[in-house]
Amino acid sequence: MSEDEIRLENEIVARAKRDPKAFAGLYEKYFDRIYFYLLRHTDEEETAGDLCSQTFVNALNHLNRYEFRGLPFSAWLYKIAANEVNKYYRKNKGKKVFSLEEAKVRELVDQNHLMTDMGWDEELIERLLAYLKELPTDMIQVLELRFFEDKDFAEIAFILDMTESGAKMRTYRALDRLRKNFNVKEKYE
């Protein structure tokens, strides 16, 4: 995101603090991203829709508390959405779900050279899913934000309430584990 875009976004936020109708622009801009993020975490369209509305209502209700910290406004929305997901699972006491798109999983494999000489097939997908299932939930969370939402480490740290070095370490550890399971020696760049 360019500096001009961030500045423009901050102007909209400042206007929305006085007049909530001005928030419509940000709602339109980020609705899909937040909805898809919630859909990946619930795998239910209705639930994702409800949580998405709640996320934007919460954002509007607490807009006066929002402070610019050098991150795009979307990071704040993701943080609220992540809290909504946690609340949802606490309330329903169910297993956390990560519904990943096949195309994005392929990207993750290609980017991190996890592909072995056997090529991309159903067996590889099954293996990868099995390994992802064995990873701790907090590692899946950082991988999901890094590779499925294309967030940088500063944003991941802000969203998951941790330090930037903690987010990096968690990502590298998760990738190392995956690589070990796939017997790949190349390092993550």
Partner: protein, 84 residues
């Protein structure tokens, strides 16, 4: 047993699926309702605090009055005894 489940979604996520949930009017309405409730709660809390302070003042004044009355009665009895 792992604490999460991984599912694979074969189709890409498209804007079409999200459109039926997109409704800024409803979000704005909920926000306004929440703000109204917040305002009512704030006024009620303020009223409650004022009420508690008033009740405390009344209690303190009554206790003080009682103490003053007791003092006057004691000193009156003493002066009567001295006079007799």
């Amino acid at each position: 047993m792992s604490k999460h489940e991984i599912r694979l979604r074969r189709q890409r996520l498209t804007a079409r699926g999200s459109d039926r949930f997109r409704n800024y009017g409803a979000v704005l309405q909920r926000h306004e309702r929440d703000m109204r409730l917040k305002k009512i709660l704030r006024v009620f809390t303020l009223f409650l605090v004022i009420l508690i302070i008033l009740v405390l003042i009344v209690i303190v004044v009554r206790i003080e009055k009682k103490a003053v009355k007791k003092n006057t009665t004691t000193s009156y009895t003493l002066s009567q005894k001295v006079a007799s």
